[in-house]
Symmetry: C2
Amino acid sequence: MKEDPLVMSMLFDFYGEVLTEKQRDFFDLYHNRDLSLGEIAENTGITRQGVRDVIVRATQVLRSMEDKLGLVGRYKAVQNGLVEIRDAAAAIEEINNRRYGSGPVREYAQRIQELASGIAEKT
Amino acid sequence: MKEDPLVMSMLFDFYGEVLTEKQRDFFDLYHNRDLSLGEIAENTGITRQGVRDVIVRATQVLRSMEDKLGLVGRYKAVQNGLVEIRDAAAAIEEINNRRYGSGPVREYAQRIQELASGIAEKT
């Protein structure tokens, strides 16, 4: 049943808030904290099958949200673009440093890198 | 009942896919195509109150999604950052053009502007 941990973690980050509290807790324990179905069952007083059903349902809800909204796919495209922006701004900064040292181009190039990092954290 | 059209339009763009087909259709007719409740009722053979109930419910669903996922708020922050990036890259390009004309800095600065525009369309 265990699926790609990175995908599960991203789906949970993006859409976890739409799950019920129980779905969110069990999903988190299983996928992010790596507890087994049996351990979650033991800790919560529910059968192993009951725990499994909750997690399967939570996974369906998260996948259905991604089918509808596609945020994880978009996230990757945006992050790749931001990395390219930072690289290009860093290249400008380096060329400018060799020629002039400080100055407005350096400041703009540094500002671009800061902004791209800020956006990367927000998306 | 009519709420801020820009907010409604953004909520619909981001989360419209989670609505039922009927909710989506009625919401779209009312908020995006500016039909009245009475006109929608007439076109669909449902009572005016029935149309209203569907749209009120659709609005609740969209608002609840935004409360949970916050994409509209994040979108604005990201777009503002991208505008700043484009402005800074354009400023670099201008300074560079005055000093050198073409060259690697110009290409990097143009590439940054392209990338920022590409990301702006994806978010």
